[in-house]
């Protein structure tokens, strides 16, 4: 009995699973670029299943600094990411059905771990793209790397890069926050019962 979840929390968990379904169909992260000759701006948006936005234009510009071109096929992430999100959707529904606090705690820990791993992976790609430059590059600036910021703004030569979560990313953060709230309230409830 003491392991059962509050009905409101079960509802919240179900809402969280719905939120994750939305994440599958919305952009998760966005990198906005602007330069003197691009007053209208360029943007790259990361979806669960691939990169969208001005990918071709960015690829056209990348060769000047010897940066690799971006191709969805080169990212294993875009193949497995939808499955991982699918797994979390199923897991959250299961937690709501099974109705056990322990399950909720494990689910939350897994979710947070996934978030951390995803950000580390994102950083690793950014590092690779920003540092692993072709030696034939027409423009070489000694000591210059072109790693975009993980989050926030950074000036890279004539381009200003601004990296922020997009709708899907914000939903993802919201889901994490809601789950934390559930874990916390369940923890308090369990403590009171003791």
């Amino acid at each position: 009995m003491k392991n059962k979840l509050k009905p409101i929390n079960r509802l919240l968990i179900l809402i969280c699973s719905l939120g994750l379904i939305a994440v599958l169909f919305t952009p998760i992260w966005r990198i906005e670029l602007d330069a003197p000759q691009y007053p209208e701006g360029l943007s790259l948006s990361i979806h669960a299943n691939g990169l969208k936005g001005n990918v071709d234009i960015v690829n056209g510009l990348n060769h000047y600094i010897g940066m690799q071109t971006l191709h969805n096929e080169n990212f294993i992430e875009f193949t497995i990411l939808p499955y991982i999100i699918g797994f979390f959707i199923a897991l959250l529904i299961l937690i709501a059905i099974v109705n056990k606090r322990k399950f909720l705690n494990i689910g939350f820990i897994l979710f947070v771990l996934f978030g951390i791993i995803a950000m580390v992976d994102f950083w690793k790609w950014e590092y690779d793209y920003g540092h692993n430059l072709s030696s034939d590059a027409p423009i070489k600036v000694p000591g210059m790397a072109y790693q975009p910021p993980l989050i926030g703004f950074k000036q890279l030569l004539n381009f200003g890069a601004y990296s922020i979560p997009d709708i899907g990313g914000w939903i993802f953060i919201g889901v994490g926050t809601l789950l934390m709230l559930c874990v916390f309230t369940e923890f308090k409830k369990a403590k009171q019962k003791l």
Binding site: E40, I57, G60, L61, Y64, P138, I139
Partner: protein, 663 residues
């Protein structure tokens, strides 16, 4: 006596001095404070209006922003344009084809924006060619010339391309009457009255795609048809043409065509003409003329020769045409926004007659004629007249309307624009122009719904308006704010060629539809190269086709060998960019035609005949990127009959010594 003489001299000197100070103030003083603010558009901000201005003898159409007067673009239409390759590239060469062969020039006078329900719809703009009679249609999504139609049986296509209120028809009236094309033209020039003919063409416009086709031509008496405007609202279904030289002179027209006190405005009931056409009264006659269409999908123009035109004889077929006497060689023929008033401007008259559509209809019903002219009834002047504007100025030419019941007329001789009320025919305001204004333009000023914030005067004489540039000067235009009662001069700007008529429209109707680049996936040019991997060089006898790509900042291929003297080389260059405002140019050393300027997603072809042995550089002419200067290549030309194999590549053709060292 001496004293008297001295005082007389002193008096006259004083009088002369006083007269000198009476001299009117010069042009500089005509500009009021606050003018700069009204014409100022801050850097980076958009103008409120597009102003499409005819290029006159430049043959092109220029586009300005208003109120800044900034030149936005020159659209090549009737003249070839080496800077864009228009008329030089294989894709655009057919646009300038005529029944006389390719013509690199024309004289572009008038413009008409397409209309729906009498209002500008922002889809197309039509342009006339005065010298070799043609009408062009420009697509306002791309600002490219989409179509050019030649007109048979015509010469001096001046009263054109005026349009009906739903763009049903674009008209073309001949200024020079001439013998019809299929008649024997080898006749004495002074047999004008017997052998010459005035022709008016009605060009049908496809409602959806804008495609033009001559629906019918009206065979009219030989006179000089000058200008025209369609009826609107209540007078929709009618067209009005001014005509001079009703004396039918064939020489020294300056004198001989200025003899009659009144020439005519010809009223044409085109709905009646349509009825006759439907009833099969039209005669198909042989006539050779060409129709050039630019296909947006294949990005290629095709020229088709037509051999027949349908003609209606207005002497035999009654009730199509009527003449209305109009004083002194009328020029402008303008219809007010309600469609009731038709303003005729006699170039040599000292008054402006205003005709009433209702009165014209009543006169026709009562057969209130004073006789006929070459078989066409002539309506009694007083029966058609609403009233006359007395002493408006000297040499009235053209009239535009503000939609608030007023008209503004340009005066060449007295060099001014004059605002007058249509109802009471009283002059309200007059402002000088610098100098000798021809046409004038109010945004939508010849439609049902004028947007009367400004009037622009397009002048024929420039003289001291700008810094001198030798004997040849650009023409000047003046912009006046007409939002108040008084017209206020706010800007003066130079123009291209010789502007005649112009059109202006709110930018909102056009700017959002403007194409940024062509989608490479939709490029159906038969010589497109979709991707660098697809580039190739193909020899077919002495013709060599180079399928080349351009993207920042290289061509593929950029090294070509195996071309021989005498080879006809076709460079089919595809711009692979899919980004806004990244055109690439393409120049070939010694090519006797022009460059190519290729928009993103477009394919353009330059034909070049290898004329001597050697190395020919090729390069990008449009500064496309930081490495634009590196966007270059070479073509090796070997003697005719040489065995040099056909080779082409980019980034692979390295020196032998370098490759050896690397090993």
């Amino acid at each position: 006596m001496k004293k008297i003489n001295f005082s007389l001299v002193a008096l006259s000197a004083a009088a002369l001095f006083a007269m000198n100070s009476c001299k009117p103030k010069n042009a500089g003083n005509a500009v009021n404070a606050g003018a700069a603010e009204k014409a100022y558009v801050a850097p980076g901000r958009y103008d409120e209006f597009y102003n499409f201005v005819s290029g006159g003898f430049s043959g092109q159409v220029s586009v300005y922003g208003l109120p800044s007067g900034r030149l936005l673009r020159v659209i090549p239409v009737f003249s070839n344009d080496p800077q864009s390759g228009y008329g030089y590239s294989e894709e655009t060469k057919p646009m300038l084809n005529t029944s006389h062969g390719s013509i690199p020039w024309d004289d572009q006078h008038h413009l008409a924006l397409s209309q729906t329900n009498g209002e500008i719809d922002g889809r197309w703009i039509f342009a006339n060619a005065n010298n070799t009679p043609r009408v062009a249609r420009i697509d306002l999504k791309t600002f490219n010339t989409a179509e050019i139609l030649e007109l048979p049986n015509s010469a001096g296509n001046h009263s054109s391309p005026f349009i009906t209120e739903n763009t049903e028809y674009v008209v073309a009236g001949t200024r020079f009457s001439v013998p019809p094309d299929n008649a024997n033209g080898d006749v004495p020039i002074n047999s004008y009255k017997q052998n010459f003919q005035g022709t008016i063409s009605f060009i049908k416009v496809d409602k959806e795609h804008g495609g033009m086709d001559i629906a019918f031509q009206l065979n009219c008496p030989p006179v000089d048809f000058d200008l025209s405007h369609a009826g609107k609202g209540k007078s929709h279904g009618w067209f009005f043409f001014s005509c001079y030289n009703t004396e039918q002179a064939n020489t020294l027209l300056e004198v001989n065509a200025s003899q009659r006190d009144k020439d005519f405005i010809m009223a044409v009931n085109w709905k009646k003409a349509e009825e006759y056409l439907k009833a099969g009264k039209g005669k198909k006659i042989p006539a050779k003329y060409v129709h050039n269409v630019y296909d947006e999908a294949t990005q290629t123009a095709k020229s088709e020769t037509k051999n027949e035109v349908t003609v209606l004889d207005v002497k035999e077929l009654k009730d199509i045409c009527y003449f209305i006497p109009c004083p002194k060689s009328p020029h402008g023929c303008d219809v007010d926004p309600t469609g009731e008033y038709i303003v005729g401007s006699g170039k040599l008259a000292a008054l402006i007659p205003v005709f009433s559509f209702d009165k014209i209809q009543a006169a026709i019903a009562k057969k209130d004629y004073i006789g006929d002219y070459n078989g066409i009834p002539v309506i009694k002047y007083e029966s058609a007249l609403y009233g006359e504007v007395q002493k408006p100025g000297l040499g009235p030419l053209h009239t535009e309307f503000d939609g608030k019941g007023n008209a503004i007329t340009s005066f060449f001789v007295s060099s001014e624009i004059v605002k007058w009320n249509i109802k009471d025919l009283k002059v309200i305001d007059r402002q000088p122009t610098f100098y000798s204004v021809g046409h004038l333009c109010i945004p939508g000023g010849d439609t049902k719904k004028p947007n009367a914030k400004y009037v622009i005067a397009y002048n024929k004489i420039t003289k001291d308006r700008y810094l001198p540039t030798g004997p040849e000067l650009n023409q000047s235009a003046q912009l006046y704010d007409i939002s108040g009662d008084k017209m206020q001069l706010i800007l003066d700007f130079p123009t291209i060629g010789e502007p005649h008529y112009a059109q202006a429209v709110s930018a909102d109707l056009i700017k959002n539809n403007s194409v940024k680049f062509f989608k490479i996936d939709e490029n159906k040019n038969p010589y497109v190269t979709k991707g660098e991997g697809a580039s190739k060089v193909v020899r077919e006898g002495n013709k060599v086709h180079v399928y080349m790509t351009a993207i920042r900042s290289h061509f593929v291929p950029d090294n070509i060998e195996g071309i021989k003297v005498g080879d006809e080389v076709y460079f089919h260059v595809t711009n692979l960019e899919q980004d806004w405002d990244i055109p690439h140019g393409f120049g070939v050393k010694g090519a006797p035609n022009a460059e190519l300027l290729i928009m993103p997603g477009e394919t353009r072809t330059l034909k070049w005949t290898a004329d001597k042995v050697g190395i020919i550089p090729i390069y990008c002419t449009d500064f496309c990127s930081a490495l634009h200067q590196e966007m270059q290549g070479y073509v090796r030309v070997s003697p005719a009959g040489s065995n040099v194999p056909l080779l082409f590549s980019t980034g692979k053709n390295m020196p032998k010594t370098d490759s050896a060292q690397k090993k």
